[in-house]
């Protein structure tokens, strides 16, 4: 019963956040000086022509009606239509979604793969040079802008060593080997930069475990630090790690959008950049809304995942 209530409450928060975000996005686009009709036709259009286009696009309706029309469309999977090309935003989004999803998915996985062992070393060896080295590297890594990391990776691995392609993309279905080759550098860059942020959380989570009674007991019956940490530590660290990952989703997504520009990958980032350059407002509005929807949905899923990881959350009261 209480479990059902918690899930319902979280879904409520999700819906309210979605409503708030959509209002915010809509409000910003309403601030356009003149309006889309004026922008499309240019400054020397006759007022009649502007009025006609305005009526055609439905811009002469009250803003509340326009908002409800837009949000109603989104709830049924219609994210609007580009004023410039006449394409539905969804038809622009879907073919590019895969690229961004590969990037975000692999980068999340890759950053964990880097950050968990590194954070563990930083915690275990925190009084010796190895630990300090890991912490210092993380501090430096956090200061490296993701796009500069990407550019440096291109200079080293594509320009000097010529191991990997500098940019471009090949779909998985077309040529898996080439697909992988094109994704290695962007994913590596994104993972490394993200890992630098994660390491500090992993470290402090493990330091906490090191001070726990169960860890001391495990050590006192002769377990090695590694065995004790893996058997008892990892599950406890996982809880705080999931929290951080949930908060990181949006920054990984932002990183992916930027890195797509560095490596000319045809994902959602490049769709957005083109739309912004052409000032194709409805495409920007629809795509941004789609991304915010994704971020909010993922953070709701992250909250549900606590129930899987932590049995304590399933039974009793709220933590």
């Amino acid at each position: 019963m209480q479990l059902g209530l918690r899930i319902a409450k979280r879904l409520g928060v999700f819906s309210v956040s979605l409503l708030g975000a959509s209002l915010l996005i809509f409000a910003i686009t309403q601030a356009l000086p003149g309006d889309v009709a004026q922008v499309l036709l240019g400054t020397d259009a006759t007022p009649e022509a502007v009025a006609q286009l305005r009526a055609q696009l439905g811009l002469d309706r009250p803003w509340l009606v326009q908002y409800l029309d837009w949000i109603g469309g989104i709830l049924t999977g219609d994210f609007g239509v580009s004023h410039l090309s006449g394409d539905a935003v969804v038809s622009l989004l879907l073919p590019r979604l895969a690229v961004t999803m590969w990037l975000v998915g692999f980068a999340m996985f890759g950053s964990l793969l880097l950050a968990v062992p590194a954070g563990m070393i930083a915690a275990l060896k925190r009084r010796s040079w190895q630990g300090i080295l890991v912490s210092a590297s993380a501090q430096v890594g956090m200061a490296i802008p993701v796009f500069w990391g990407g550019i440096l990776a291109v200079v080293i691995f594509a320009v000097w060593l010529r191991w990997l392609p500098a940019n471009g993309y090949v779909p998985l279905t077309q040529n898996p080997a080439s697909w992988a080759a094109h994704l290695v550098l962007p994913v590596l860059t994104l993972s490394a930069v993200q890992a630098a942020v994660l390491i500090r959380y992993v470290r402090s989570a493990f330091v906490e475990v090191l001070n726990e009674d169960y860890y001391r007991t495990a050590r006192s019956i002769g377990w090695t630090p590694m065995r004790a940490l893996f058997r008892h530590g990892l599950r406890n660290v996982a809880i705080s790690l999931v929290t951080v990952l949930g908060l990181q989703v949006s920054s990984v997504l932002v990183g992916a959008i930027v890195i797509e520009s560095v490596f000319s990958l045809p994902g959602l980032g490049s769709l957005l950049m083109t739309a912004v350059a052409q000032r194709d407002l409805l495409v920007v509005q629809g795509t941004v809304m789609f991304l915010v929807l994704a971020v909010l949905a993922i953070s709701a899923l992250v909250d549900f995942s606590y129930l899987l990881i932590d049995p304590r959350q399933r039974t009793g009261r709220e933590a």
């Binding site: 928060v13 309210v16 956040s17 708030g20 975000a21 915010l24 996005i25 910003i28 686009t29 601030a31 356009l32 000086p33 009084r127 501090q139 430096v140 956090m142 200061a143 490296i144 802008p145 993701v146 796009f147 500069w148 550019i151 440096l152 291109v154 200079v155 320009v159 000097w160 500098a166 949006s250 920054s251 997504l253 932002v254 959008i257 930027v258 520009s261 560095v262 957005l272 950049m273 739309a275 912004v276 350059a277 000032r279 194709d280 407002l281 920007v284 509005q285 941004v288 991304l291 915010v292 971020v295 909010l296 953070s299």
Partner: protein
């Protein structure tokens, strides 16, 4: 160790400030005027770091770029603090539904990262330094609100607040006389860390062409230019990135150092 962090942070931040101040009075060459005959010159005694694809001295552009970095940082962090801190204090002091409304709104804004906000603003108003500042500032409000709220809750639990309330101090008096001075240190730390975030965000925006446009130099748009010459002059792509990293590292170290310096309880046993 911790004190070393503070000192290192101060030195790095000092370098960036120095570059910005020096650029106001002197740069080796004109940072904007195109010199067709001197394109892509390698580093030399005349051009310390070489010239870019327009024949402009990279070192001069780097110095001037520090100005934009600091200006965007100062304005966006101030914007975030001016709105975020009072809202966070309000949420922490009032509690109940006010707390819920403020913090839920903060969550909504948090779901809209600076980059997406900047894209929206750029497609509505056109990209400029101002849209970048606003996007970064607004996107940073939730972080300040959260820190201020957490600090306020901590202060409000103290006995002296109860004493103040009992002796008839108004809510406003409690906020201004007791809460504000006590949360000032954590806000200072957040400002420093937020500054580092703002620098990263501004660099990314101007790299993507969503911030300060050419010919005005920023470290981000210098990297955008440098990317066209990666196979010819890869070294060009090193300097602006290094400058960004130094600035971000400086403010992060300063924030961390400040945190430990101001609050001995947080000092970790080495």
């Amino acid at each position: 160790m911790k004190k070393a962090q503070l000192v290192a942070g101060l030195v790095l931040v000092g370098l960036v400030v120095l570059a910005a101040v020096v650029s106001l009075f002197w740069t080796p060459f004109d940072p904007i005027r195109v010199v067709p005959g001197e394109r892509l010159a390698p580093p030399s005694l005349t051009h310390f770091l070489g010239t870019d694809g327009f024949g402009i001295d990279i070192f001069s552009r780097l110095l001037v770029g520090a100005r934009t970095t600091l200006a965007v940082g100062i304005i966006s962090v101030s914007l975030a603090a001016v709105f975020g801190v009072p809202l966070g204090m309000l949420a922490g002091q009032a509690g109940g539904w006010v707390d819920d409304v403020v913090m839920r709104t903060a969550d909504v804004v948090y779901a809209l990262p600076a980059l997406l906000l900047a894209m929206l603003l750029a497609s509505v108003f056109g990209a400029s330094t101002t849209t970048a500042m606003i996007a970064i500032g607004v996107a940073s409000i939730p972080a300040f609100a959260r820190v201020a709220r957490a600090g306020t809750l901590q202060v409000m639990a103290a006995d002296f607040i109860l004493a103040a309330r009992v002796s008839g101090t108004s809510r406003w008096g409690v906020a201004s006389r007791h809460v504000a001075p006590n949360i000032a240190p954590v806000i200072g730390v957040q400002a420093s860390v937020g500054f580092a975030m703002a620098i990263l965000a501004e660099a990314a925006l101007s790299y993507l062409g969503l911030g300060t446009p050419r010919p005005n130099p920023t470290w981000g748009n210098m990297l955008r230019d440098a990317q066209n010459y990666l196979f010819v002059a890869p070294l060009q792509a090193v300097w602006p990135g290094l400058a960004i990293a130094v600035a971000v590292l400086g403010f992060n170290l300063l924030g961390d150092g400040l945190r430990d310096y101001l609050d001995p309880r947080l000092r970790e046993v080495p």
